[in-house]
């Protein structure tokens, strides 16, 4: 019975990821796509947590941390890129 509930949770999260993928493809500006990518990463993190509960293992917990960190760094770098035009600046004007 718990397996059924967890599978339903996983399906709902997958539908959320598909909605974000629509915004990722159709978004008119680049910031839309970045926001959609951020939300996809965070939903993926939740999906892995539910998957851990479904398999009853704790072996996938590191993946949650790594995906969280990579999502944050990716969003930061992309936002900086579209704001300034470069990621790493070598000038002294900071």
């Amino acid at each position: 019975m718990t397996t059924v509930f967890l599978s339903v949770t996983l399906v709902i999260l997958a539908v959320a990821v598909i909605g974000c993928a629509y915004r990722l493809i159709a978004g008119p500006s680049r910031s839309d796509r970045i926001a959609a990518l951020d939300t996809i990463g965070i939903n993926l993190l939740a999906m892995i947590a539910v998957f851990c509960m479904l398999l009853d293992t704790q072996a996938l917990m590191e993946i949650i941390l790594v995906i969280g960190i990579l999502t944050f760094i990716g969003t930061t770098v992309l936002a900086r890129y579209i704001e300034r035009g470069s990621v790493i600046e070598d000038g002294d004007d900071r």
Partner: protein
């Protein structure tokens, strides 16, 4: 007892998934980058926090272990999701994305016209008192 906590954890995970789905609906239907990022940042972070809290309770009830990595992930998502949304919104404004036509207020435009900088630098400092 463990079964009750397990069911509470599963219901928490389900509620978090529903929050994530609602945030995806907002991400599709809202008219503007800024409103969309409002939906994507806040409610998705809340849903993920619910799911991770459910997983934490689940493993605490089933295996009897407190998983510190899940607590760390909860704190990390709670801290970084608003920061990422803020950076993305500021980058969108400075790269020239228009506001929705129904928007009624634009404070950042005045800030940019006045100082050209964003952040706490633009707070007007009071004049220092003049010495006679």
């Amino acid at each position: 007892m463990a079964t009750i906590v397990e069911w509470i954890a599963i219901v928490l995970a389900l509620a978090g998934a529903v929050f994530c789905a609602i945030s995806a609906v907002g991400l599709i239907r809202l008219p503007d980058v800024y409103l969309r990022s409002h939906a994507a940042t806040k409610s998705a972070a809340l849903g993920v926090l619910f799911v991770l809290l459910g997983a934490f309770l689940f493993f605490w009830a089933v295996d009897g272990e407190i998983n510190a990595k899940l607590l760390l992930a909860i704190v990390f998502v709670f801290l970084t999701s608003p920061v990422a949304g803020h950076l993305n919104g500021r980058a969108a404004y400075r790269s020239g994305v228009k506001l929705w036509k129904g928007s009624v207020r634009d404070d950042f435009k005045e800030v940019l016209e006045r100082g050209g900088k964003s952040g706490p630098d633009t707070v007007q400092e009071p004049e220092p008192p003049k010495r006679p």
